[in-house]
Symmetry: C2
Subunit: 674 residues, 2 copies
C-alpha cells in the first residue's frame, strides 16, 4: 500500500492490536467467557473501523449500484417475487438471465467439484422431520431475537431496532455529547449482547415501534425455521430444512457402504434451504429461500492429509488470519502450502478445499482483487469446529461471506448417532490388536422372555449393545432402586441377576470420521459476480453491461442480420440452427434498430460473442460474417462455416479471443448506438 | 393382436362401446351433468376391465419388482427419507445413482427443450403468497376428501377407506351374493362420487377406523397444499407451491417484454412442488415432495400453428383417443401429422409438443412399446382446457401418467389478470382500424387535487384506465348515492361532474394469449425408466442390472485393474484422470474380487462402459486395454490412448458400440462371476 495511506491507517491498526492483546491476555488468564466475548466484540468494532477506512482510502471505485439494479430489473435478471401482486420481501424470482447464469454456475460447480473430485451426490427431502433437526441442534438454537408491536403484532429484529433508534438519537441536535458517547459505546457492544441485555436497553430508553409508536413486547427468541405439519392429522411436525448438510449426514451409513466402507470420500448436495428471516433486507444477500451447494468430506480424524494437495500447493491466496485481525494487520498473500505447513490452516484437506474454492470463484469471474479468505476468530467458531475460513467477496455492501470452509470435526455424526441410536462411524483396523475389558450384563433369559414376550429379543440385543458406562450405571441402579429403564423396558434385578467383567482381544476400533465442509451460498456468489462484472463503456455511460466469462454467460452467442432485408434470412437461420445444434444457447435479434444499438442490447445481457450477417455475406463466396467479442468490441471477418466450431471452443474456454484475432482479419466498423 | 386374444376381448370391447354410446347420447341430449358424470364413471370402469384383460393376456412380462427394489435399495438409487430415524412415508432421498440419473435426465431435457427450442427459463419462489394460489383456484379446489378417527385423530382418504372396507367384506364368506353385487356396483361408482355420497356410504355401512375400530368423523375436504406463515408475525399466509406453472404465469408481462413483445414464445421451469397427500403409497408414484419440469408456450389464440411442425410431422405415435376409449377400441398408431390434420389433436402446437415429448422419452430410454398418449375424456379435462393428452408409461402398477400436454386456452392469464388487476395480454394489430365508443369520466381536476393531494395523480390515472362498464357503474352510483369507491379513494359527484361518450379509432386489440402446457412429473418418468431398463442376465438370474442409455447413465465408465498388483496403478490412474479431464464421471474399482464380479457390480449401477488394465497393458507397446459394453458384454482390445475420446463419443451418443467393434479386434474372455 501507498506509504501515505499506511500513515493514516497506523493509529487504527494500533487500536486493533491493543485490543487484540487484551483479548489474548484474557484468554491466557482463563477469564470468564462473558468478559472475553465483550472484548472480542470491541475488537471486531475496531477492525470494522480499520476496514471502513481502508475502503474509503482505496482508489475510487466507480461502481454505481443504482445503475446496475436498473439493468438487472430492466433485462429481468431477477426481481422480487409475485411483483404483480405487490411482491413479497426476502424472496426473488430469477428471470431468463438470472436463471441461466445460476444454472451455468452450478454446472461448472458440478464439473469442478463433483466430477473432478469424483464425489458422491445426494438429493434429499427439504421437508425434514423434527427429530433430525432436534439432533442437529437447530430446533433449540437456530434463533434470532425480536420484539413485537403489542397492538399490530408487527415484529422487529431486536438488534436492528435498537441500532435504528440510536442512530436517530445521534442525528438529533438536542442529544448531548455525553449521551452521544454512551450511545456510541452501546452500539459498539450490540453485536455481542445477550437477549436480556438488549431487552434492558429497549426498556431503559423506552423504545417504541418505529412504525406506529405503540409499545413493544418483551424480547423473545424466534426460531428461524419454517414449521411444517406433514400429513393431514397434523401430528408429524417438521421444518423446511435450514441447510442441505443434514441430508448428507443422516445418509452417512449408506454412503460409506456405497464407497465400499473406505475413507476418505466426499458427498455433495445442491438444493434449496429456508430461513424465516425476521426482516430481510440487502436484496439477495438476506433472503428467505435460497440455493446452497454443500460438500461434506469425511475423513479419518487422525489423517487429514489430502492426496491431491500437491496439485494446489502453489496456489497464492489472500489470507486474513485471526491473528492478523487481532493485530490490526492486513490480509497477507501466501501460498496455501505455506499456510498449511506453517500451521495457519489446520490441515491439508481444509487447505485443499480452500484452494479449490478460490479456483472455482475465479473461473466463474469473481475479481481476484476483491476476494479474501478470513479465518473465524475463536469465539465466532462453533464450539466443535477446529478451524473455519470464509471466502469473502468485496461488494458495495462491504466484505460479504460467500463460501464457508470449516473443519467440523466429529460433531454432526456424533449428534445423529446419539439422536438415532444408529452408529455413524467406521471400523478402523488397529495396528496391533489390543485387549479391552468389558463390563457385561448376564441376564436371566427365562425371566426376560416371560416379561417381554415377543420383545424379549430386542431387550437381549439392547443389553448386548450396552457400553461399559451404561452397564455400570444399570448395575448401580438395580442395586440401589431395584429397577432400570432400558429404551422403555423396565428391567428388574431378577432379570439381570449379575454382571461380569471380560477381557476381549479386539482388532478394530470404532472411529467417528471428521467432516470438512465447504458450503456455498449460491445467491451471494451470484450477486458478488454481478457486481464484479458490471461495466460501463468509457465512451458512453448509458451503455452498461456485464462482462461475464463465456463459461457462465447465460446466452453464448447472438446472431444479427444487418437489417430486416429478406435476403439475410436464410443465412441467419442456417447459422443459428448450426450453433443450436452444438447445444449453444443462441439469441437471434432481427428487430429493427441500428446494429450498434442491437450490440448494446446483447452486451447488456452479457452475450460474449455476436455474429452479424451483412451484404458481404450475401454477395461474396465464400460467405463471410463478422464475429465480435463483447468486452473489447473487436471484430473479425470469418467464413460463415467456421463460426459454429469457433464459437463453441470460445464458449467452452478451449480457445481465447486472441487466437481468433490472430487467425482472421480484423474488421473495423463504426458502432453506432444512435 | 392375436385373433384368439381378440375373441376373448370382443365382449369387453362391446361393453365399452355400449356404455360409450350411452354417454354420447346423454351429452347430445343435453342431460344434466351429474347423469353424464355417473355414466362416464361406468365407462371408465369398463375400460379398466378391458385393459386389465389385455394386460393379463399379453405375453408374460418377466419383470420382478421385488428384485428391482432390492437392487435399488442395495446400491442406493433412492431410499425412504430419514431412514435412520425410522423414515417418513411419501418422501424419498436420492442416493448417488438416483441423483445423477435425475440430473442427467434434466440436463438432456434442458438440451432437448430449452436450448433446441430457444425457450426462456425462470426459477421462481417455492414459498407462494396465498393471493396467487387464490387466483389460480388452488386455495378453493385443490383438495381430497378424508375422515378422521375421532379418538386418535388418524386420517384416512375417504375413497381408500371405503374401498378397503368393501374389499374386506367381499373376502368374507358370510357376505351374500346379493350383497356382493351391491358392493361391486358401489366400488364401480366410487371414483365419480361426491363427498356427500361417500359420507352416506360410510354411515350406512357403519364403517370404523380400520386401525383402532374407533368411530369416524364426518367426511371433510382436505386441501393438499402445505400452509406456511411467512415472516415472524404469522400474518402473511402462503403455501408451498403445488406446481411450478404459476411462477411462469405471474411473470408473463416481464417475459413478454424480454421477448420484445412478440408471440409465440415458451418459458420453462424446473423445480420442486409439494402436495400434502393424505396417505401416500405406491413408492415414487405418489409422494409429498417432487420435481416437475414444466413448459408454458404462449401463443396467439387464433393462430396455433407451429413453425417447426414439419420437422416432426412424420413421427409415429400410439394415440388412444377419447373416441377409441368410448368405443372399447385399442390405441392406434398414426403420425402426428395425420392426427392434427384429421382433427384428433386440437392444433399443431399441441401436436408438436406431443411429438417432442415422445422423442425425449425415447432418447432417455423409455421403452416405445410401453408408451402411449391418452386423450382426456371430456369430463376429465379441466373445464377451460380445449384438449389434453397424457403420455402414459406401462409399469408394474399399470399405465401411469408421466407427462401431461394440455391446451389450457386463456384460463391462467385471465385468472391472474382478475386477481392482480395487471393486464396479462398482448396488443395485436388489427387488420383494419376500427371505431370504438368510450364512456369517459370528466373529472374536476381542482376538486380532486384538493381532496387527494399527492395521491391525485394516481386517482386521475385510475379514472383514465376505467373500462366502459366500470365508468357506467360509477356514473350510476354517483347519481344514485353520490359516492363511489375507486381503489379505496372515495369519489363524489362534485369531483366527477360529468361523463362523455367519445368515438376513437383503434389500431390494436388486446388479446389474452393461449397457453399450451407440457408438464413432466420427473419422479414418475424416472421410475418408469428404471422399470423399463431393469434386466436380468439370461445365464445367471442373480445378475441384475439397469440397461440405461449412456446419455443418462449416472457414471459413464469404470476403470478396473485386473488385480491389485502395484504395476497396474500408474495405468489405471492415468487413464482415470484422462477420462475425468473430459468431464466424464469415472468409477475406479480396485477392490479385490474377480474381474467378473466387479463387472457385475458396475453393471448393477448401469455403467455402460468398462476398461480393464491387465498384464498385456503393462507388457506390450503400444499399451492396450480391454473396453467392454454393458448390455452385450462384448469386449474389444484398444490402445490405451484411444480410450478417452472413444468413450467420450460413446457417452455423448456421437458413435455407437458397433463402430467400436468394427474398428478394434474383439477380445474374448470368460466373465467369471464366482
Amino acid at each position: 500500500m501507498d506509504p501515505q495511506v499506511e500513515q493514516q491507517l497506523a493509529p487504527l491498526r494500533a487500536r486493533c492490536k491493543d485490543q487484540g492483546d487484551i483479548v489474548r491476555q484474557l484468554k491466557e488468564s482463563g477469564a470468564p467467557e462473558v468478559d472475553v466475548k465483550r472484548e472480542v466484540q470491541e475488537l471486531k468494532n475496531r477492525k470494522k473501523e480499520l476496514e471502513d477506512m481502508i475502503l474509503s482510502l482505496s482508489p475510487t471505485d466507480t461502481f454505481d449500484r443504482a445503475k446496475m439494479n436498473d439493468l438487472i430489473k430492466r433485462r429481468f435478471f431477477y426481481d422480487i417475487s409475485f411483483a404483480i401482486y405487490g411482491g413479497i420481501t426476502g424472496q426473488y424470482d430469477f428471470g431468463p438471465m438470472g436463471c441461466d447464469l445460476v444454472d451455468n454456475m452450478l454446472a461448472e460447480w458440478q464439473k469442478h467439484f463433483v466430477i473432478q473430485e469424483r464425489m458422491l451426490k445426494v438429493n434429499c427431502s427439504i421437508l425434514t422431520s423434527e427429530v433430525v433437526l432436534k439432533a442437529s441442534g437447530h430446533v433449540d438454537k437456530f434463533a434470532d431475537y425480536m420484539v413485537k408491536d403489542v397492538k399490530t403484532g408487527e415484529c422487529f429484529r431486536l438488534d436492528h431496532l435498537i441500532k435504528q433508534h440510536f442512530e436517530k438519537k445521534l442525528s438529533e441536535k438536542k442529544t448531548s455529547q455525553e449521551e452521544r458517547e454512551t450511545i456510541n459505546r452501546k452500539i459498539t457492544l450490540l453485536d455481542g449482547m445477550t437477549m436480556e441485555e438488549m431487552d434492558r436497553i429497549v426498556k431503559q430508553y423506552d423504545m417504541k415501534s418505529p412504525l406506529t409508536g405503540n409499545d413493544l413486547s418483551d424480547a423473545m427468541e424466534f426460531n428461524l425455521m419454517f414449521p411444517i405439519y406433514i400429513g393431514p392429522s397434523g401430528n408429524l411436525k417438521g421444518y423446511l430444512r435450514p441447510e442441505t448438510a443434514q441430508g448428507i449426514f443422516v445418509n452417512f451409513k449408506r454412503l460409506l457402504e456405497y464407497n465400499q466402507g473406505k475413507l476418505p470420500f466426499a458427498c455433495a448436495q445442491v438444493g434449496n434451504a429456508y430461513r424465516n428471516e425476521i426482516s430481510p433486507r440487502s436484496g439477495l444477500l438476506r433472503v428467505r429461500e435460497f440455493t446452497m451447494a454443500e460438500i461434506e468430506h469425511f475423513c479419518d480424524p487422525d489423517d487429514k492429509t489430502h492426496n491431491k494437495f500437491d496439485q494446489v500447493a502453489n496456489t497464492e491466496m489472500m489470507l486474513y488470519s485471526a491473528c492478523a485481525q487481532m493485530d490490526g494487520e492486513s490480509p497477507r498473500k501466501m501460498t496455501i502450502s505455506e499456510a498449511v505447513r506453517g500451521g495457519l490452516v489446520a490441515n491439508e484437506t481444509l487447505g485443499y478445499y480452500m484452494a479449490r474454492i478460490q479456483q472455482y470463484l475465479l473461473k466463474i469471474g469473481i475479481n481476484p482483487k476483491k476476494l479474501r479468505f478470513r479465518q473465524h476468530l475463536n469465539n465466532e467458531m462453533a464450539h466443535y469446529a477446529c478451524d473455519c475460513w470464509d471466502a469473502e467477496c468485496l461488494t458495495s455492501y462491504g466484505w460479504i461471506e460467500c463460501v464457508g470452509c470449516a473443519d467440523r470435526s466429529a460433531y454432526d455424526l456424533s449428534q445423529h448417532t446419539k439422536g438415532s441410536g444408529v452408529k455413524l462411524c467406521i471400523e478402523r483396523p488397529l495396528k496391533e490388536p489390543k485387549m479391552v475389558e468389558s463390563f457385561i450384563a448376564v441376564p436371566d433369559k427365562g425371566a426376560i422372555g416371560k416379561a417381554f414376550k415377543k420383545d424379549a429379543k430386542a431387550v437381549q440385543e439392547a443389553l448386548a449393545a450396552l457400553s461399559n458406562e451404561d452397564a455400570e450405571k444399570m448395575d448401580k441402579a438395580l442395586t440401589e432402586t431395584g429397577e432400570y429403564d432400558l429404551n422403555g423396558y423396565k428391567l428388574t434385578r431378577a432379570m439381570i441377576p449379575s454382571f461380569k467383567r471380560e477381557q476381549k482381544k479386539v482388532h478394530v476400533e470404532e472411529v467417528i470420521p471428521s467432516v470438512i465442509e465447504p458450503s456455498f451460498g449460491i445467491g451471494r456468489v451470484f450477486y458478488s459476480l454481478l457486481e464484479h462484472s458490471f461495466r460501463v463503456r468509457e465512451d458512453d455511460d448509458k451503455r452498461t453491461f456485464f462482462s461475464l466469462p463465456a463459461v457462465v454467460a447465460p446466452i453464448k452467442v447472438s446472431v444479427l442480420p444487418l437489417s430486416n432485408k429478406q435476403e439475410f434470412v436464410p443465412f441467419t437461420t442456417k447459422l443459428a440452427d448450426a450453433l443450436t445444434e452444438l447445444n449453444l444457447l443462441v439469441r437471434v435479434d432481427d428487430s429493427t434498430g441500428s446494429i450498434g444499438r442491437r450490440y448494446a442490447r446483447t452486451d447488456e445481457i452479457a452475450i460474449p460473442f455476436g455474429v452479424t450477417v451483412d451484404f458481404d455475406t450475401v454477395n461474396n463466396v465464400p460467405h463471410t460474417v463478422t464475429l465480435r467479442e463483447r468486452d473489447s468490441t473487436e471484430q473479425v471477418r470469418i467464413p460463415i462455416d467456421d463460426v459454429p466450431l469457433t464459437v463453441k471452443k470460445l464458449a467452452d474456454g478451449k480457445i481465447q479471443w486472441k487466437e481468433v484475432t490472430d487467425k482472421w482479419p480484423r474488421f473495423i466498423a463504426q458502432e453506432t448506438t444512435k
